[in-house]
Amino acid sequence: MIAKTVDKETIYSYLEEINDPEVPVLSIIDLGIIRDVKMNSDELEVVITPTYTGCPAMDMIVATIKIQLATLGFKKIKVTQVLSPAWTTEWMSEEGKRKLKEYGIAPPNPKQQVCDQKLFAAAEAVQCPHCNSYHTHRISEFGSTACKALYQCDDCKEPFDYFKCH
């Protein structure tokens, strides 16, 4: 393929194919971490933002973007990281939230409830992704990856991950 004939839409469709290595059901588009795609003849720049500061998946995502787009014929592919404005779970697509739930991870609540300093605040009401009950409780506000908290359903008793709001 020749880079000059490639439009942004094609780039995005290629990016849509790349999944988050830690939550493989989500594409990086679903996650909302692609900020911009800039093209200048045969040079391409993809601007991304990390979800969490120490997210170990970022290096792998950068490498995968380069490999995935290499087939499009660009001479130079640059992936730039920007931090500000900081990523928020509000940028996650509705499609992404639906996929998360299907996968067994409770999607982030639409309104941020826990990102304040109040101590011993009642745990956020999170819907169980398995049986849809709201009778759930938080086991730990840190989970298997930086972006998740651990919950358990009081009705079906299943433990589950909650993609915490950020």
């Binding site: 500061t53 120490g54 931090l83 500000s84 900081a86 990102c115 840190f142 989970g143 298997s144």
Partner: protein, 242 residues
Amino acid sequence: MSPFIDYTLHLGDNSLILGQKNAEWCGHGPVLEQDIAITNISLDLIGQARNFYQYAATLIGDGTTEDSLAYLRKEREFKNLLLVEQPNGDWGQTILRQFFFSQYQYLLFQQLQNSSDKHIAAIAEKSLKEVTYHLRWSSEWVIRLGDGTDESHQRMQKAIDELWRYTGEMFEAASYETHVDLSTIKEQWINKVKKVFDEATLQMPVKIFMQTGGKEGKHTEHLGYILTELQYMQRAYPGCEW
């Protein structure tokens, strides 16, 4: 090296060393959930350090990288606070160290997110989201342990005796530290700590002599051991990759 680069390294060093200390708990936490919590915090801190080091490396130029800053500097070149290099001790001491530091970082980053330097402001803005979690988690644990059993209360009080002398340094400006108003941070920090201690039924310490020097590279004996472990691979096998 310019004062601003020194300051950026100081911020990175604080995060790296505390991240390294917390990581020692991996697999040793008192319960699984808290083991995961402390190591998650570790990951956030090391992520902060990477951001600061990457920025410092571009300012320094000359082929310096985030890795050479972390793995190839000597003890006297590290500018971290004495507080973050103190031993983990028991769970209470680790919690208290985290609480003191997170409360400080929370106030500091609030100021730094308005920094005239766009890079520092962006790192502070991004990190604040995570620091808020660290602060809430560690505050709750200080209260839980302080207001817990006789044993846990006693241990927390002992941890305060152990660590308080390293808190004064946070508010003593180093020669390169001209970007923040430390006296405001000090006042807010004392008030917040007092509030948590009151709720935890812990005594606020009396005025004591404060240890300083870390910011200028004069450390306690503990940092050498930390770096020995942290830098082992690059020292034993220079340039080693995996």
